[in-house]
Symmetry: C2
Amino acid sequence: MRIAHIAPLYESVPPRLYGGTERIVAYLADALVDLGHDVTVFASGDSSTRAELVSARALAFRLDPHPLKSDLAAHLSMLHEVRRRADEFDLLHFHVDLLHFPLFEDIAERTVTTLHGRLDLEDLAGIYQRWPRFPLVSISDRQRLPLRFAHWVGTAYHGLPPELLEPPATPSGGYVAFLGRISPEKRPDRAISIARRAGRPLRMAAKVDAVDVGYYREEIEPLMTGGGVEFIGEINDAGKRLFLGNADALLFPIDWPEPFGLVMIEAMACGTPVIAWDCGSVREVIDHGVTGFIVDSEEQAVEAVARLPELDRGEIRRVFERRFSAPVMARRYLELYESVLTSSAMGADMSPTRSLSPTLPAQPATALVYSA
Amino acid sequence: MRIAHIAPLYESVPPRLYGGTERIVAYLADALVDLGHDVTVFASGDSSTRAELVSARALAFRLDPHPLKSDLAAHLSMLHEVRRRADEFDLLHFHVDLLHFPLFEDIAERTVTTLHGRLDLEDLAGIYQRWPRFPLVSISDRQRLPLRFAHWVGTAYHGLPPELLEPPATPSGGYVAFLGRISPEKRPDRAISIARRAGRPLRMAAKVDAVDVGYYREEIEPLMTGGGVEFIGEINDAGKRLFLGNADALLFPIDWPEPFGLVMIEAMACGTPVIAWDCGSVREVIDHGVTGFIVDSEEQAVEAVARLPELDRGEIRRVFERRFSAPVMARRYLELYESVLTSSAMGADMSPTRSLSPTLPAQPATALVYSA
């Protein structure tokens, strides 16, 4: 199949440091190439992929020091180029949320759009009512809840290349880990409290964004003075392998509707169990009692730390390989591509009316909805 | 004429406090109504206009306290609604930069797009090459320099309702004024230095954005300790009337390509001369020796302060009324609307090829270019 992936231009594909969406585009494109498909990636020119790369801009935005730039203009120019070349592809897979809707409405039936973010924002519902023909993919079933009516064709969980992160031969253990961003919805304060009550050292590998410096200084740093907490800053994939692989568990005490939570499967790839709050995607990613524990309170989290020896780290890695590897993700997307294209070939007359018609259809015709 | 104005949703129309684009939309729409036209304004629901208001969102973004919102989604939904109703209007006038291009390409010839911002951003040229059919209006001739090739149909200077700001009966005088935003490109440091060297007190009415707090604290506050500088914060239109009207001059020592510089005509409306650096639009707005002085150095600015008594404040107000009142702006836009619509009716076959054609036209066909 000739497949185009259209990535955001904020990070390179994959990102040099932090960044989720562009990372998944990179892994998915490479895995589709490995499965024999003809894949083109529209992304920033500093990307690196086994697919054909079309550079939409020399540098990804976040690392481009130029002070005068326009992310909207760069993305619209890229989409214009994708549109100009659309006939070269059987299927166009968009990772840019909703910006492409105006340009691809007439060929929506051979597109797939993965929504990578939270969907409970105030202004979103109107968009999916007005452009109901784009087949949408969620990254967890729970992610869809704020927009149940939208034209979902399935859920595809994220996946990592199996060799990217692997369990160490003999995990040193002796600490619990917190990995990600220091921000109120990630609840690093809970992680500190749980570790302390469970009597384990906590190591925190996290970046602190400019907007979160105040929160870090005022809320988190004072908690660290009690001892038993080591803050090691931002780490790369090589660092993650050691940091996660040697931990007794990853603490994931989140307080927001996490759409997927890549760090959970990074831990699983290292054979490391996850102790996670029951929010967003967590129930879909973690098998309670197998790959970790799902909890609702600090008490339960502390109990879960005591029960960690019950879990088989080899089995955690096997679950990762079975459910969350990049080849599994790529095969799932191929299923979705096929179902969208088949539906487009068979059911063209049953598709919802063009959204620019005088009355807005409240829902897409169910014939095009393939729930996972 | 049935005219639609499509405003940004960041501020209400007009803004409650700071904000340029939405202010101009408000004044232009009201002036067009006064001239007998049938005007519809697409804007946030907290706007206030004599035209018909279509609310695209209950609250403008900047004053909406809701933490989870999407400006892109809200603007795209609004544009979808404008598109759905496009046949109700003879002409659509866009004030949202470039976001509407994908949706209105097939009726570009009955649209006008005023570009309100600086145009020397890295990613912009590609947009105007790829969508060459939209008739563009600049707010100064100088604003066009980075995008000379684009499809300009004319320049329309901003205008204010004549009664909004008026000269006081007897200006108290005795100080020079700085009005706007505290930021490096506005050069408040130069204003302080000029006032001090000229031996006049300086009054600064300015807002300090979150991103500029560091600059204010580190660069500007220390300069104020020398005395002779009074900082009075952000002011509204009633405050401006007194603040500008009683000043000996407005200092406008900018260091960036100002696309228009609304504050210059606010001063002129009050009969107050402007001492301005020769940047961006300044030569087009200020008549040297009549409505103010155009300078290139602090020395020249200090000399200009000494020469202020040469200027006739009554004449400054008259120049404002002649060149920069809202009715003048509205009549200029009506000329541009007529020329665009006439050109569209006559020259449809001479228009550039659709930008989605395989080769990108480097420039629009000159037949559609009406330079001011």
